[in-house]
Assembly symmetry: D2
Homo-oligomer: 355 residues x 4
């Protein structure tokens, strides 16, 4: 079967490694180019114990790989936002399609992008045709046609999947949204600091970037796009927390009922919205959602309940693997849309560990 | 120095063990009676490696200990709510003061108590002079005079310390309060089930009892008591989560500004409220609060920030050790008030582990 | 492509769940029957989130499944030793091939088997044609021809793979062998006891069954079969330890040099022995072996070093995933041999988590 | 009561922090000087949340503290070996007593010291009167009289306490000793590297410095000093392993019976040897030793068993907290001997966490 040549830039970061594993077993895509300045000259087999063709690939320097990537059908950028902002225009000009896992192209408001990602990211926005926001469950058609796909943030994916259908169906109010989420440590990327040392993280939990995290405007932007603009702006507060785990995000979102509805009504609304989605599962209750159901997979599991009263509080719990549905898995889902193959290609054999 | 004779009923539960350690090194109290049906006949030294007089105590059966406890000045009940409800009246009748660590005597509304703890608890309420709610930072004077002290719940302590001063000073609105908290597994008490097995809990996070946890009315009751009743009812949503740690609670509370205020104003308000409190520390920012600062100690650390706009969102992060400030430590703090000795007696040498 | 019908008895234990996942993606075998008394009536899809044909299978009671299994080509027993001992003869009589993951058929000496597994296991030995010991790297030819395959123990696999080639090549002495190994908690199977509760296991390490573990004679038996009987008996001490992890075994084996040899010589000897083995990797040094290299895979990684002196001490470190190469993965490897398909069928897409 | 002025150099390393906590609650010693280049100018209260006099101390630069330390009765060095080697002579010359927690002064053979710690350490040996090796259970009298105390290594403490009495009483052979131990990550000191990052360490176990760890000659030296030199040299192999925990060492030592003896005989021999030792507890069996019994305390727990045959294998399991009995706790024990106060002063209120 024909396979499309794919490049991965940033192959030794956590998301880059996941991409490499996923592409190694993908039926319709083949890893052609992969960069890593730290592993340059080593084979993928040596670093990741991957057998077969993908294992034979040799890590190239970023500069060399960025050049060779121009021959590939699709380039996956697992690079920092400022690097993605810099390298994407040239790849697009060379005719590649680009899926960027960083935050460089996610925010449509240049001022907001600059505020959260710095001026290098903002200025790049004007240079490239802004493409699709790659949350397939909501923007599938745009992704299919896009030259540039901004792969969503991990928290943004988890929270938007939980809240958007309820907003869209008018069940909850736009104001008064709170998202309180916990994440494993890989969400922060590779670190060689004492702050991310085992002794510092182990046995600890803390909130970080309170009222200042860059996924706040990203979640709000997605939710805003899913509702009538006439209904006023989304008002959202988001707090991320670090827990002593490597992988996984569990988000607990709070809203107010906008109409009379029961927990069963809300669950039904989610079930309807995701009836044909291979990667979203609706649980019977928010008590039935847990990290272990999703870690190792590209799935999102969501459960909802509400108070049985007018304007009662709604609680939506959702979970994803931050490196899969929150990064590399979703990037492959987008890749599949771009390539026109089955949306779950390369993603069906992922599994959670029961243990 | 004179020491008061103390009984601990329920000595082999997590809170009972903590009480035993604390009493073993208490300058003004001595462990006289301790019950444990599972360890009956064993010495405290054997089970807990405690030296000195406390180590020489021998675990008695519950029935025997409950009888002998009547000779003690104060009885600490580390028993399930229904057991506390049953045994407390007799102890009070015998002239003992009682500090109950269960939920049996916390809720003043009998209907609410029955709804969350069952009818045995509710019916007992009418039999005893309802005493003080033992959150010393707010109700110190009542505790000093009480015959029966209801030691607060762990989540309830953590959340109420975070929110009450801001409500009391009119800085935040009573409506629209959300508390999202994570807890270590000891919060659930000793369990011999697969659900609390290592393999089930390890690497997992989940919410539980969503919209149904018994600490919800307890938090609301405390907050309500701290504000003018004319201002309307407290509207609070609380979601507890389980994280794979043994000890510690981190609570993230969300509210709305009721007046124009900055993060610095809110921090100052907390600092003022707790200026003379030995066990509450106000951090510069919610980002500076973490479990490790409190686990192993009787401290609560609190940090707050808000959006710089009218009716902006307020985020208050607070942390305690669920078995100390959330249970046994606070019980000793209450014991000290009851005995009339220094409020921090027996609690000053507790330490966090930096590692 | 033709697929062979397979039955799994004991489908909701840790090994049974792993078998189900592996069979769900196996190119030449299909899950036809699966038992679980706790999940009877539920689909595999519901319990394990497995899609496709395997997901459609419904858990049957043990008795029903044991009957229906007789129609299958191969029956995988993920049952306790006494159950395996009881059910295997009937399945063999019905013409099935049987791969047993318990200890029921591993030990060839009936007295030793009885001593470690009880008299039910021993008495069953005489009823069945004793088949192969399913460590393919050493006994591949026997497995191919066997009707009954005794799938090795997890520790036994890890230690035997480390030591056997060095013994076989006369590089280390048979006497004075010590194996000190640590294992994750799934090694003990599902437990609903306080002893295996999260709070008990977390932050703890301990040795167990010191000088009394049932894998001791199993390791010795394997090593003995790999050397000339004239050289005297194997003398082995084995100590297992429990660490607060779900999965993985790391074994550190100690021996004495029997001839003049360097660390490089020993590494070369292992490399030669495993040159054509898809699931065994020889590391450059024992310092380069770690659990993360193997957890999630069917691999064993081994590294060796020795003191540079006559009769110097040899240290061999090896690692496996106790539920894969130590149980279900190896069972599938044996299944592949029994079915005559590629030995790595259904096992190539397993991956470790880099994170 | 009179308190002796104490200096701690290296106050922000893991051992330095533990020393600070211990001295803060010591009845006969007071923290007078404490160094930390990273925390210079901050109070101890700010960094460690310690109240009272010790909390008021302000961290000084190393150079300033080293100078001011000369006024103290005892200087505790929690510094790297090369720093200790450099600074100790001047402190001794100024009349201070010195307790060094590094490896600088532990090894009596200069060549061995040089091989493991480098030439700076070896050359310093000739400059100072070599003092006592501070394992009080074996060398108490020397410590009492010493000007310089070399505080033992963590693994060395744990292994020597397990083996020495059995060797001394002629119960086990000197040859054929194997020590296989696991340690928490604080044993490696503070690190800001990816290798010690949470994601790298979590869920992993590995051996390190196989056949090359610096505690190997230290253990051998201690054991050799406890036996008649006529009996030949100690032959010891030691392998350390890293487990994903912050604190604690569990050592499993293997030996051969030198005489006919039972497990009960060996247990009795240990019990006799440690009958009057406040910090050593003998368990009924090696299966009864676990990390949780010791972490947070200055205790060592030891259990032993053997094969019931001539020259049978002996297994001795022992556990300590690597930062307390393996570092700071033992340093305070030595300090107490040097000061002539109760050996357990400042160490009695330490407790393990049952949870």
């Amino acid at each position: 079967m024909h396979t499309a040549p794919i490049a991965v830039l940033g192959g030794s970061g956590y998301a880059g490694i996941e991409l490499t594993y996923l592409l190694a077993h993908h039926p319709r895509a083949r890893l052609e180019v992969v960069s890593s300045d730290r592993w340059v000259g080593d084979s993928v087999a040596k670093q990741l114990a991957i057998s077969g063709k993908a294992g034979e690939r040799v890590y190239a320097s970023f500069d060399e790989a960025a050049e060779r990537a121009k021959e590939c059908a699709v380039v996956l950028l697992a690079t920092p936002a400022e690097v993605s902002a810099k390298v994407a225009p040239g790849l697009l000009a060379a005719g590649c399609k680009v899926i960027d896992l960083s935050g460089a192209f996610r925010l449509t408001d240049a001022g907001v992008a600059r505020a959260y990602y710095g001026k290098d990211v903002e200025s790049s926005k004007s240079d490239v045709a802004v493409g699709a926001y790659g949350l397939p469950e909501f923007f599938r058609d745009e992704v299919v046609d896009a030259k540039l796909v901004a792969n969503p943030g991990c928290y943004a994916t988890c929270a938007a999947l939980a809240l958007a259908p309820l907003l869209e169906q008018g069940l909850i109010a736009r104001t008064d949204l709170v998202v309180s989420a916990v994440s494993g440590v890989t969400g922060a990327g590779r670190k060689a600091t004492e702050e991310y040392g085992f002794v510092a993280i182990d046995q600890d939990v803390r909130a970080y970037r309170v009222l200042a995290h860059q996924h706040t405007p990203e979640i709000a932007q997605t939710l805003q796009r899913r509702v009538e603009s006439s209904g006023g702006p989304i008002d959202l507060t988001f707090t991320p927390h670090l827990v002593p785990l490597a992988r996984g995000i569990l988000s607990t979102a709070y809203a107010r009922l906008a109409v009379q509805a029961s927990s069963a009504d809300l669950t039904a609304a989610l079930s309807k919205a995701y009836a044909n989605e291979p990667f979203v599962t609706v649980a019977r209750s928010p008590n039935d959602v847990s990290l272990k159901q999703v870690v190792g997979t590209n799935r999102c599991v969501i459960g909802v309940a509400c108070e049985a009263k007018s304007m009662g509080r709604v609680v939506v719990v959702s979970a994803i693997d931050n490196l899969l549905k929150g990064a590399a898995g979703q990037a492959v889902q987008n890749l599949n849309l771009v390539l026109g193959c089955d949306e779950d290609a390369g993603l069906t054999q992922l599994r959670r560990f029961h243990t």
